[in-house]
């Protein structure tokens, strides 16, 4: 056997190039299997806890955080505000279309490193004053660059229990040079192909439309990358618009995006994506976003914002009252249904 192997020429995979970015949240697939086997229960357990307890138990300083949704779409603001209140520090965040989530986490000193596909911007609203200030001033470090497709394929590789996935993006660019990916010669085509390393975040929050007490979660609208992220995350906190009965899940199992055995905690937080959009329920609150974008131009303003809306606030319902209560939420529901025109104060020039 040994002799045969020696006589046969065994080709090895040729590494053509290596990105110089820091590799975060990667695990050997066998270690990942061991984690999932030991730390995730296949037993139906009631996982409903207050958000405060979920954050205390499953998040920690210095960890690698990923937020579900799309930066300001279906984003777990309740989880974010609670991490700010508990003064989590030195987190690395997956900047995967990170928008309002990363901006406020940077401004409140929770995050000091970003792996960046998209961050420091507010899409149509322009650049993020707080995020930019932190990077340009050296307070926050960008540990690696990559593309959006590459980021979600990092989660997909993890979700498949693989060390990496091949993809045809990033090659030839500085985005690759600053990433943690590698380029090899593909043994089938003999062409270069990019290997995207798996990403297993230490903890993740995903906000959903409905979920039962065990963690069976359903999302309406685009799922973005949450199916993969839910599988990749070492700890997963689900915040949900409402907790429904197990039967309500079981009559529509095709709607379930995340099954219970991926989930570590379930927290009921109505309007939990505010000021972000919750597709099919309520639109983003552009008046509130404008207030944030204006206040976050200075450190003082950030302090004012946090002291008004985050630090002294006990629960998310108290926060909703502060931002305009049911009247505001009714307007955002109408906006979502296209029944009233959008007012975007940040667009006034």
């Amino acid at each position: 056997m040994l002799l045969q192997r020696r006589l046969r020429r065994v080709p090895s995979l040729k590494v053509l190039d290596e990105g110089q970015g820091e590799l975060h949240a990667w695990m050997d697939p066998d270690d990942a299997r061991a984690w999932m086997t030991e730390k995730k229960s296949r037993q139906l357990n009631d996982k409903v806890v207050p958000i405060r307890e979920a954050v205390t138990r499953f998040t920690y300083d210095g960890g690698y955080l990923a937020m579900g949704g799309f930066g300001h779409i279906r984003v777990s603001m309740a989880g974010i505000y609670e991490m700010i209140r508990q003064k989590r520090r030195n987190l690395v965040i997956a900047g995967k279309t990170a928008v309002h989530d990363v901006d406020i986490l940077i401004a409140s000193d929770v995050v000091d490193r970003v792996e960046c596909a998209y961050a420091f911007g507010h899409e149509l609203r322009g650049l993020s004053p707080a995020g930019r200030r932190a990077v340009e001033g050296g307070k926050v470090k960008v540990v690696a660059e990559l593309s959006n497709a590459a980021f979600q394929w990092r989660f997909k590789a993890a979700a498949m229990g693989l060390p990496w996935l091949p993809a045809r993006v990033m090659m030839g660019t500085d985005t690759f040079r600053y990433s943690s990916a590698k380029i090899v010669e593909d043994p089938y085509t003999r062409n270069p192909i990019c290997l995207i390393p798996a990403c297993y975040p230490d903890f993740a929050f995903i906000h959903v439309h409905r979920c039962d007490k065990y963690g069976n979660a359903q999302i309406d609208g685009a799922v973005i990358e949450d199916r993969e992220l839910a599988m990749a995350a070492k700890r997963l906190i689900i915040t949900t618009e409402k907790i429904v009965s197990e039967e309500e899940i079981r009559v529509a199992p095709d709607r379930t995006v995340i099954p219970f055995f991926m989930v570590d905690a379930v927290c009921e937080v109505p309007y939990g994506s505010h000021p972000g959009n919750m597709p099919l329920l309520y639109y983003s609150d552009e008046e509130h976003m404008a207030e944030w974008l204006s206040l976050s131009r200075t450190e003082e303003g950030v302090k004012t914002y946090l002291e008004k809306y985050v630090y002294p606030v006990e629960g998310f319902d108290e926060y909703i009252t502060l931002v305009g209560g049911e009247k505001k939420m009714e307007y955002l529901r109408k906006l979502e249904r296209l029944e009233v025109p959008l007012s975007a104060p940040w667009a006034k020039r």
Binding site: G95, F120, L124, A150, T173, E225, A344, A347
Partner: protein
């Protein structure tokens, strides 16, 4: 700018769009000559009838009356598989080969201006058949050397994309600015002037380009926007001037 770009999008083709102006342009195309233009958004929206400007390429307007609300994995895989004709992007800097920068101005470690990064731009520029770029033209933006190469154009010239491993027959197609329309020379893959907008001089074009642009002997004038196109833009698509300013 928006009208010229909109006319490049053929009916019955697919376009993957970035935030802001590219969305408005696609909406304009759908309401004029290309009602069956398939618009795809990176968060998973496939073929929506976009009712109003989305603030995000992932918000609920991007799945409104869509044929599918999918995932990022799904739409990016579609692009990698060859289903997407156009990738439609903006940028802070562009070079003669159509390479784009949306990451930073100044050195990466100590940026003078930190920009959002690739987002889906690198993926669109890598995987869509033809990349269309919409941006302002001046010497700070049209540069000899990018501060950061975020998204691949023709990289260093002919054959460079294929050599890097990117899909065959892809790359930048057109660049539309407030001054004119640029394409790319078949042989050298360098940027080449295609047409000048009405009221713009050749000197304006040259003075606002930081690299040597290929200028053919005959350069036509871009067709002016029609009254209907302007009306749609101003009254229906962006009445609050959120994008068009």
């Amino acid at each position: 700018m928006a009208c010229t770009a909109s006319r490049l999008l053929d009916d019955g083709k697919s376009v993957f769009v970035g935030t802001g102006l590219p969305i408005i342009v696609s909406m304009l195309a759908q309401r004029t000559h290309a009602p069956n233009l398939l618009v795809v958004f990176e968060a998973g929206g496939v073929g929506p009838r976009i009712p109003a400007i989305p603030i995000s390429v992932g918000d609920s307007r991007t799945i409104y009356r869509a044929v599918m609300a999918a995932s990022m994995d799904y739409v990016m895989s579609c692009a990698q598989l060859g289903h997407i004709d156009y990738g439609f992007l903006g940028a802070a800097q562009i070079d003669a080969y159509g390479n784009l920068n949306t990451t930073c101005i100044g050195p990466h470690d100590h940026p003078k201006t930190r920009l959002p990064g690739s987002g889906g731009a690198n993926d669109l520029g890598s995987l869509c058949h033809r990349t269309i770029v919409l941006m302002r033209q001046d010497t700070r933006k049209f540069v000899e050397k990018l501060d950061f190469l975020t998204t691949p154009g023709y990289l260093t010239g002919p054959g460079a994309r294929e050599k890097a491993g990117l899909p065959r027959n892809t790359g930048p197609h057109k660049v539309i600015t407030q001054l004119g329309v640029m394409g790319f020379d078949e042989e050298t893959k360098r940027m080449k002037l295609v047409s000048i907008h009405p009221g713009v001089t050749m000197k304006d074009i040259v003075d606002n380009t930081g690299f040597k642009l290929i200028i053919p002997d005959y350069v036509p004038t871009t067709e002016a926007p029609s009254c209907e196109e302007l009306r749609l833009l101003r009254e229906e698509l962006d009445p609050n001037k959120i994008v068009l300013g």
